[in-house]
């Protein structure tokens, strides 16, 4: 693509992204009382979506080939346990990421 075509493509992507982010708010504006069902979804979905996002992050893990998802498994268990005990973001997120990086770079290099 030429630069001009790229810029047009970028504008299209901007439009599409804004559309998916704003559509629910356009359908249910503040002035309109949202139906009970929508309120219910608003309560339940945040929980279900976080579950979906975790799966989304792990979508590239291949359980059938080396390293069989072992680094992901260990790092996930670490994050869950340490966060449950200490509630310290640095320990859970920072520690978990460093643990994972050490594992994929040195212990289980592909």
């Amino acid at each position: 693509m030429t630069i001009r075509q790229i810029l047009i493509t970028v504008s299209v992507i901007v439009f599409g992204t804004i559309l998916t982010r704003s559509l629910p708010f356009l359908i249910f504006p503040d002035s309109k009382e949202s139906p009970d069902y929508i309120k219910y979804l608003g309560q339940v979905l945040p929980y279900a979506i976080i579950g979906m996002l975790v799966v989304y992050c792990l979508k590239n893990v291949n359980l059938l080939n080396f390293p069989f998802g072992i680094p992901e498994g260990i790092a996930l268990i670490y994050v869950v346990l340490i966060h449950h005990r200490r509630h310290n973001l640095l320990l859970s997120i920072g520690g978990g990421t460093i643990l994972y990086m050490v594992m994929v770079q040195f212990l289980f290099p592909v």
């Binding site: 693509m1 030429t2 630069i3 075509q5 790229i6 047009i8 493509t9 970028v10 299209v12 992507i13 439009f15 992204t17 804004i18 998916t20 982010r21 704003s22 559509l23 629910p24 708010f25 249910f28 503040d30 069902y37 309120k39 219910y40 979804l41 608003g42 339940v44 979905l45 945040p46 929980y47 279900a48 979506i49 976080i50 579950g51 979906m52 996002l53 975790v54 799966v55 989304y56 992050c57 792990l58 979508k59 590239n60 992901e72 790092a75 996930l76 994050v79 869950v80 966060h83 449950h84 973001l89 859970s92 997120i93 920072g94 978990g96 990421t97 994972y100 990086m101 994929v104 770079q105």
Partner: protein, 230 residues
Amino acid sequence: MKVKALKAAFPFTIPVMIGYLFLGIGFGILLTGKGYPWWLSPLMALFIYAGSMQFVAIDIFSKAFNPLNALILTLTVNARHLFYGLSMLTKFKATDQKKPYLIFALTDETYSLLCSTEPPQGIDRNWFYFFIALLDQIYWVTGCTLGSVAGSLVKFNTTGIDFVMTALFVVIMVEQWESSKNHLPVLIGIGVSAICLLLFGKDLFILPSMISILAIVTIFRKSIERRNVI
């Protein structure tokens, strides 16, 4: 009031800062590595501001010019944002003139922070949310710019750094689990997406997952609500 809200919001955004800086740098390196001009990276970070979509865009640029195709791809990749909007309807109510920006900046990470954090006592709610969203985008733009301008200078091995996002979502899940007595919704989310991932593969599973999650929470609404205390 604003300064207090900014100070209160900042600590919550630190995990996203680490993640966005590194992912953004990765994006900038990849984009300029393919021969595109350096300014395209900050431009995309500023206006598209959707991580996974920006990576997909690099792929689109290398193909023949086809805006309609780009639009369809964007809607598919970003369909999950519809759910974010639905669950933020109440939270964003009465956020007055900050609302358009809050909606524009509703990325996976900002969404997950907004769902899981309440402003501390005495902090203005709207400014607190606004600064979480704004700081996150500043990190992303900074990362994308650094990557495209100075990417070739970064020498250390960053393999595995993307786990920072996984860890962030897992931490939020743990906090949700502890603060809620009803674990059905999150279990439905994990179970349904895992099954869809197996059935449809990693490139196609998000849309079927969303539809199935919606169907299941709708069908089992009574039993989920009976357990109450969401």
